[in-house]
């Protein structure tokens, strides 16, 4: 098994695992902030994927993967800021960050 797993495949698997863990956290935890944490983990897993492919890809000198990952980091930061700001504002209104209780958009 190990012989079959190339280095790239290993990184990819780790990224997949991270992604899944992040997804699981986003889907199951009650606290809104932990959902955001899960989302951060997913983004990071994607970054890892990108860097891994850049490293073992055909043209690393094009810097495509790296650039992508850097921009991703920047955007993720912005998104985290906005998202957490939202969570704080929601907390001010609803006095809680429990997602199970937030169903006012129920159809």
């Amino acid at each position: 098994m190990t012989s079959q797993v190339t280095p790239l495949a290993g990184y990819l698997l780790v990224a997949a695992l991270l992604f899944s863990i992040g997804l699981a956290g986003a889907l199951t935890r009650r606290n809104a902030i932990l959902v955001l944490i899960g989302i951060e983990l997913m983004l990071n897993a994607a970054n890892l994927n990108l860097i891994a492919f850049w490293r073992y890809g055909p043209h690393p000198e094009a810097l495509t993967g790296m650039m992508f990952a850097i921009f991703s980091i920047a955007v993720a930061a912005a998104e985290a800021a906005v998202g957490l700001g939202l969570v704080i504002q929601i907390y001010r209104h609803a006095k809680t960050t429990d997602l199970d209780q937030m169903n006012r958009m129920k159809g």
Binding site: L23, A26, L27, T28, A32, V35, L99, D100, M102, N103, R104, M105, K106, G107
Partner: protein, 707 residues
């Protein structure tokens, strides 16, 4: 040479152009009918206007009738003149007709029309003249009645319809006018409809005559089916002209009768109803509930004579198939019925106490004489008695009206008496009428007309029995009239309040009628049988040798003896005696049982009540039961079925249609509810779905891109 010339002239004359009066003959009945319509629209009680209109219209009709009569006389004179030149005996009894086609069905057509011949001319004059006198009389008699206008409206309608019956050339038109006459009789008998007796009498009259009319209609329909036309005279093609009669004679109608006889008997049945012959006479005495002018006009002079006139009109049909001097089955039946009625009614008249009822039964009896006269001796014999009877019976009724009026509406003769002194004019005219009715010899018209009938009866081949019956009837007539006059005018007054004479408007018509009751005798004597010749269309001259006929003088003596016998017995029993009202009648004392039967009108009404009316009541109950249970049950059943169907539909509609629709909507609702649950409002749910969808998409993509 001369004969040839005249024959050429005759051929070129052909049929003379129709006189104006013949073309406009229809005005005679039309004017009174239109007046009746106008009077119907007037408000009560415009006495002078309504009386004026009615009398004026009937005067017009009388004028036109006289013009028509003169025209017939002229025509007769002309034809007689020609015949004298040509030595050819023309039948001067021309039937001048105007026929109009009314309904056409394919090739068959129903025609209406009118005819002017001696028979209708004579009747026209009689009806309009007697009618006019009675109209004038009514203005006085009904002066205190508040329904004055209605009375004259009905009287005018009657006059118009009766005149229509007289001039009809089509049996259909005759039947229509016949029915209108019956209707007006009903309206006038029940004029004082608040009286239950009057309403019942009107109904009885209408229903009884209806029975006769039903048979009449059957006869008409049969005749139309056989002869193809109902027009009586149509230049050779009419229903009672020789061609048609030959056809009718050859048709057999079962029971050994020919179609002509059967139809004749059916038509006679109509006359039986209208003219009050036995057994349909029961309505006439009850019809005395109407006002006295009505009794005089309708139930003495004219309407009841319509039956006799009808038989006279269709006489060729009745006579069809008779051998020379012989009789036919139809005429035999008519004779027997007439003779029997004459005696039957006279018997009942003997024991009645109401002044008008005696006269009513007398009318029935005299109508029997007329019918017998038609059957025994032909049209002229019967019609002459009809004409004379019209005058003296109208006179008697109007005189009775005067008596009733003068005795303050008292009608029981046992409460009258001694009116000779108090009401001299009425007594004089009444006596003239009574003597005419009895047939007092020589002076009075009734003698000559009744003798004509007796003469024909003596010569009747089939049997001498009608003669004996008619002679007995004459005896009874003299007897009961004497009784009545004795009770009313002789003796002493037995009433409550003293009586008084009637005003001129009542007594003058009486005088005029009395004059004619005497004068009309002149045209019927054997010495100068002008009336008979006029109707038969022959020439006649005054000839005293007419009395020399074998058996005639004997007959005249016999009838004189009979009349005096009746007068004598009556005078003996009743003259000047004036028993009190409560005391039994002299005849009752002598023969109480017979008296009882006669007084109770020989139980004919009771017989009808027990049989016909009882059956009718039973039938009405059966029909009612049928109607309510069977037809009503059917209807209820249909209704129930409909209700069931409606409930079924409603059930289907509510449960199936609505239900399925509602169910569908419910399902939609539920589905919508279910779908709405997808929108949980929770972010994590949306995330899950997203993630799942992405995974599924990835799988699909990978799978689809596999080689």
């Amino acid at each position: 040479m001369q004969e040839q010339l005249y024959q050429f002239n005759l051929a070129s004359i052909g049929t003379p152009p129709q006189a104006l009066i013949v073309r406009w003959l229809w005005l005679i009945p039309a004017i009174p009918i239109v007046t009746s319509g106008v009077l119907a629209l007037l408000k009560q009680p415009r006495q002078r206007l309504s009386a004026g209109l009615a009398i004026g219209s009937l005067s017009l009709s009388l004028l036109l009738s006289l013009i028509a009569f003169v025209h017939v006389l002229n025509y007769r004179a002309m034809m007689l003149g020609i015949s004298q030149i040509d030595h050819y005996a023309f039948n001067t009894a021309a039937h001048e007709t105007v026929n109009l086609s009314w309904i056409q069905v394919g090739s068959a057509s129903v025609d209406l029309g009118w005819v002017l011949d001696p028979l209708s001319a004579v009747m026209l004059v009689m009806v309009s003249f007697v009618g006019l006198l009675i109209f004038i009389y009514s203005t006085g008699y009904m002066a205190h009645d508040e329904n004055y206008t209605r009375f004259f409206c009905f009287l005018s309608l009657f006059a118009g319809a009766m005149l229509g019956v007289v001039i009809s050339n089509s049996l259909l038109l005759l039947f229509m006018c016949w029915e209108i006459v019956g209707l007006t009789s009903y309206l006038l008998i029940g004029f004082w409809y608040q009286k239950p007796a009057a309403a019942a009498a009107a109904k009885k009259a209408f229903l009884t005559t209806r029975i006769g009319d039903l048979f009449f209609l059957l006869g008409i329909v049969w005749l139309f089916a056989q002869a193809g036309t109902l027009v009586l005279y149509k230049g050779g093609g009419g229903a009672i002209e020789p061609t048609a009669l030959a056809g009718l004679l050859s048709q057999h109608a079962g029971l050994g009768l020919s179609a002509a006889t059967a139809i004749g008997l059916l038509i006679f049945a109509g006359a039986v109803g209208k003219s009050g012959q036995f057994p349909l006479h029961v309505w006439l005495p009850d019809a005395m509930e109407g006002p006295t002018p009505v009794s005089a006009l309708i139930h003495a002079a004219t309407m009841v004579a319509a039956g006799v006139y009808l038989i006279a009109r269709v006489y060729p049909l009745m006579q069809a198939g008779a051998l020379a001097g012989g009789s036919t089955t139809a005429l035999t039946v008519i004779t027997w019925v007439g003779a029997f009625t004459a005696v039957f009614a006279a018997l009942i008249a003997v024991a009645q106490d109401d002044i008008k009822r005696i006269l009513a039964y007398s009318t029935v009896s005299q109508l029997g004489y007329m019918m017998a006269g038609l059957g025994l001796g032909g049209v002229a014999v019967g019609m002459f008695h009809l004409i004379t009877h019209a005058f003296f019976k109208a006179l008697l009724f109007l005189g009775a009206g005067s008596v009733i009026h003068g005795c303050h509406e008292e009608q029981d003769i046992r409460r009258m008496g001694g009116l000779r002194a108090v009401m001299p004019l009425t007594f004089a005219t009444y006596a003239i009428g009574m003597l005419a009715l009895c047939g007092f010899p020589l002076l009075f018209s009734g003698f000559w007309s009744k003798d004509g009938i007796l003469e024909a009866a003596v010569k009747w081949h089939p049997s001498i029995a009608p003669f004996i019956m008619l002679v007995f009837g004459a005896l009874l007539t003299a007897f009961y009239m004497t009784r009545q006059v004795a009770y009313v005018f002789l003796g002493k007054w037995r009433g409550d309040k003293p009586a008084h004479e009637s005003p001129a408007v009542i007594t003058v018509p009486l005088a005029i009628l009395a004059f004619f009751a005497i004068a009309l005798g002149a045209i019927g004597t054997p010495a100068w049988p002008w009336f008979r010749a006029f109707l038969d269309g022959r020439a006649v001259a005054f000839d005293m040798r007419g009395f020399a006929e074998p058996g005639l003088l004997t007959l005249m003596c016999l009838s004189t003896v009979v009349v005096f016998a009746g007068l004598g017995v009556g005078q003996e029993l009743y003259g000047n005696k004036s028993p009190s009202p409560e005391a039994p009648d002299r005849l009752e004392q002598l023969a109480p049982h017979v008296w009882g039967w006669l007084r109770d009108r020989l139980y004919v009404d009771e017989f009808y009540a027990a049989t016909v009316i009882a059956f009718y009541g039973w039938w009405a109950r059966v029909s009612d039961w049928l109607d309510r249970r069977v037809w009503g049950g059917l209807v209820a059943g249909v209704t129930w079925a409909f209700g069931l169907w409606a409930r079924l539909i409603r059930f289907l509609d509510t449960n199936v249609v609505d239900g399925s629709f509602d169910k569908g909507c419910e399902e939609l609702n539920v589905g919508g509810g279910l779908l709405a649950r997808l929108q949980s409002g929770r972010v994590q749910t949306y995330l899950r779905i997203l993630a799942l969808s992405v995974a599924a998409l990835a799988v699909i993509l990978i799978w689809s891109s596999r080689p």
